[in-house]
């Protein structure tokens, strides 16, 4: 699978990057420059920025999102110069986790951080970042988890849909040392204070930055967004992330994190009413931010409470203006919480959009049904079909009839025995197995159970139409 391929080459290229960081002169490792210098990168250029790696597909510079599983699903990582939009889950429990993983990854890799929030002080957000799991601890944690939930299931052989046993599994990448790409974090521990102090960060806390509202000129952007945009532009310009300052020798990545964008705390009423006055404020802000990011060495994560946005058209526009969109759906309070299918998981994760950058195609993962769980300390993402198929009987219970589709033929109905037999046939190609659909409520017997015999030589043998004994000896 493509994921395995990126794993392998990822290890290879980080190894070469490690050696290159030490030499930093001439190496055989070359890649196309980031889009920041797209206009003058006629050929190749040598870049060595810690915590980044080139994409396997087109040499695009990637940074880790802080979750190696999510990196795999996004085709290797988040591209520099793009926006990762996280659609928050309903009670905002898991999206701050992804936000913090992104920032913690920035601290470990030595990137500069820019944290913007209207709700929490960025200094407090920094204190709550998770601690990284380094080599030995990580290995112990992973082994424990793998042992616990692998043993019972891997022994169960699929009887009917046996093809699913060969399906892709979300392999967890082994633990990595601090100088590599993508780390694991312990959500129960706080990041050590010395790491925070050694890092470079800028905070934007909206209540502090907003001056008295008297001086506000009417503008198309909400005041909060305007200030944030100016702040980001200043940081990018002053610290040389857009390449405009030739004195800056050390090239680094700016990781921008914006929390709860679009919520009423930012002064935007897109979540409050369906027809708002400043309905273009949010989309305009995203467009201008995109312009800023494309011309600088930065990556941005935005969490947005899209479930609160009343006007669904705005969500579509926001999705078009963002590059990578990931939606979180937690099971808390929903009917799925009691569904035995999802008993090990905390929610579903939807990869709604992956950008096609410098390319006609993108690295879309084949697996679409993904669930996440916050197990003890690690945030893992798994293909929910694994669990799905562990309970075959629950999925195809007897008493129901099943609509089957065979290759190139119409839908037909089958009895349960017929259906389970055919299932094994059809499941030989997993694409077809998904066409097995439960037809409806269990059928009550409506007729007498009598079977009329087809016309044959002895049908009118006795002067009466012959009848076969009933298949079901049940009287109506």
């Amino acid at each position: 699978m493509a994921a395995a391929a990126t794993c392998g080459t990822g290890a290879g290229s980080t190894a070469s990057m490690a050696s290159e960081a030490s030499k930093s002169n001439v190496t055989s490792f070359q890649r196309r420059g980031p889009r920041a210098s797209g206009t003058d990168s006629g050929g190749t250029r040598l870049v060595s920025i810690a915590g980044t790696r080139p994409s396997v597909r087109n040499g695009q510079l990637l940074v880790s999102t802080g979750l190696p599983a999510l990196d795999q699903l996004l085709g290797g990582g988040l591209a520099v110069g793009t926006v990762l939009l996280i659609e928050e889950d309903k009670y905002n429990i898991y999206s701050p986790l992804l936000f913090k993983y992104f920032l913690a990854e920035g601290i470990i890799s030595g990137h500069t951080l820019l944290i913007a929030s209207a709700k929490e002080d960025p200094a407090d957000i920094l204190q709550e970042l998770p601690a990284p799991l380094l080599d030995d601890n990580c290995k112990k944690e992973l082994d424990k988890d793998v042992y616990n939930h692998k043993t019972p299931e891997s022994n169960v052989k699929m009887k009917i849909a046996w093809r699913y046993q060969l399906s892709p599994k979300m392999e967890q990448i082994g633990p990595v040392s601090p100088s590599r790409f993508g780390h694991y974090y312990d959500a129960s521990k706080r990041i050590p204070q010395e790491l925070i102090e050694a890092s470079k960060w800028h905070g934007f806390f909206l209540p502090e930055k907003i001056s008295s509202p008297l001086k506000v000129e009417p503008c198309s952007l909400t005041h909060g967004y305007l200030k944030l945009l100016q702040f980001i532009q200043n940081i990018i310009y002053e610290e040389g992330f857009d390449g405009s300052n030739p004195q800056k020798k050390q090239k680094n990545i700016l990781r921008i994190g914006i929390q709860n964008l679009g919520s009423p705390l930012w002064g935007d009423d897109v979540c409050c009413t369906e027809t708002c006055d400043n309905s273009h404020s949010l989309t305009k802000f995203l467009y201008l931010l995109r312009g800023l990011l494309r011309t600088s060495l930065s990556a941005c994560i935005i969490t947005m409470p899209t479930h609160l946005i009343q006007n669904k058209a705005i969500i579509a526009r926001v999705t078009n203006l963002s590059d990578t969109v990931v939606g979180l759906e937690s099971f808390i309070g929903s009917e799925r919480e009691t569904n035995p299918l999802y008993k090990d998981y905390h929610g579903l994760i939807h990869i709604r959009q992956i950008p096609r950058l410098n390319n006609l195609i993108c690295d879309e993962s084949d697996v679409k049904d993904l669930a996440f769980k916050l197990k003890r300390k690690l945030f893992t993402i798994e293909w929910v079909q694994d669990n799905y198929l562990r309970q075959e009987r629950n999925i195809y219970p007897p008493g129901f009839s099943y609509l089957l589709k065979q290759k190139d033929s119409a839908w037909g109905e089958g009895s349960l025995q017929h259906s389970t037999f055919l299932m094994s046939f059809l499941a030989k190609a997993t694409a077809f197995a998904s066409r097995l659909v439960r037809h409806g409520e269990p059928l009550k017997q409506t007729g007498s159970g009598r079977i009329r015999q087809a016309a044959g030589p002895r049908l009118w043998h006795d002067g009466r139409r012959q009848e076969a004994p009933g298949f079901l000896g049940i009287s109506p």
């Binding site: 889009r35 797209g38 273009h280 312009g291 011309t295 669904k312 579509a316 078009n320 390319n359």
Partner: protein
């Protein structure tokens, strides 16, 4: 350009039609490969192209163009391509306090009235050079994409007016072509977008509509393309011709096949 798509549309770079408005529409999928196709097609056909690129950067189109066999930097230097990069100039335009005119000055305004500066820019870019020699064939205007203008605060009617002005100048006066991309919001009821899409559908000569498969994601078939030839000037005495194909996008090309005839299934 994609040779298979040229065959389907029955056009070649030597024999490009003139005075046509082509509408690219995508619903639940990404139709930007069509923009790359038409950009490289018209550059290879030796036409003068004005590209209003609002959604992606120049280097994105350049790198994909190189895979398709055209060099945008070279075309820009030669004067064949006039490229308006929205992303690069957006921040500068927005924060410029003075009243300097700029094609994208609607970004500054709270309620932009019309897109006249943008139209002036297009007209200036595509007007024939005065020395009389016809270096390039017909002028072409490419816009990627129009739905973004709605997100930036411009009204649907203003965008339709802009398209109308451009059509009068580029298609009728200068005998050139226009290609515009509009997103179809589908389930999300985006009324402004629907107004824009319906208005453009009635005006255009050729509609290329890419849709995602109704059954969801498929690794081997990325979507479905509907081609609709129209004659907006005549009353619909003859039926408009329509064809449907499914496609798969590869690294440097797109392969088209009839519905259900994907090589992976056969």
């Amino acid at each position: 350009m994609f040779p298979e798509l040229n065959n389907l549309l029955n056009i070649t770079p030597d024999r490009a039609e003139q005075g046509k408005l082509t509408l690219l529409c995508d619903a639940k999928t990404d139709g930007s490969f069509l923009v790359h196709h038409f950009l490289s097609f018209y550059l290879k056909a030796n036409c003068k192209v004005c590209f209003v690129a609002l959604i992606q950067s120049f280097s994105h189109y350049n790198i994909v163009g190189q895979k398709l066999g055209v060099s945008l930097t070279l075309a820009r230097e030669r004067g064949q391509l006039v490229f308006l990069e929205g992303l690069k100039s957006s921040m500068d335009v927005f924060f410029q306090a003075n009243e300097e005119p700029h094609p994208l000055q609607f970004l500054r305004e709270a309620n932009p009235g019309n897109l006249q500066p943008l139209f002036e820019f297009v007209r200036e870019a595509l007007k024939p050079v005065d020395n009389g020699e016809a270096v390039w064939k017909c002028p072409v205007l490419l816009v990627d994409d129009l739905s973004l203008l709605l997100s930036l605060g411009v009204g649907a009617v203003a965008v339709l007016d802009f398209v109308h002005y451009c059509r009068a100048t580029v298609c009728w006066e200068l005998k050139g072509n226009m290609v515009v991309l509009v997103h179809d919001s589908g389930d999300a009821k985006d009324e402004e977008n629907d107004i824009l899409l319906n208005g453009l559908s009635h005006q255009s000569h050729l509609i290329l509509r890419t849709e995602g498969l109704a059954t969801g994601f498929c690794r081997d078939v990325h979507g479905q393309l509907r081609i609709l030839w129209r004659r907006p000037s005549q009353p619909t005495a003859q039926r408009d011709r329509s064809l449907t194909y499914q496609y798969k996008i590869q690294d440097k090309s797109v392969s088209f096949f009839a519905k259900g005839m994907s090589p992976a299934v056969l």
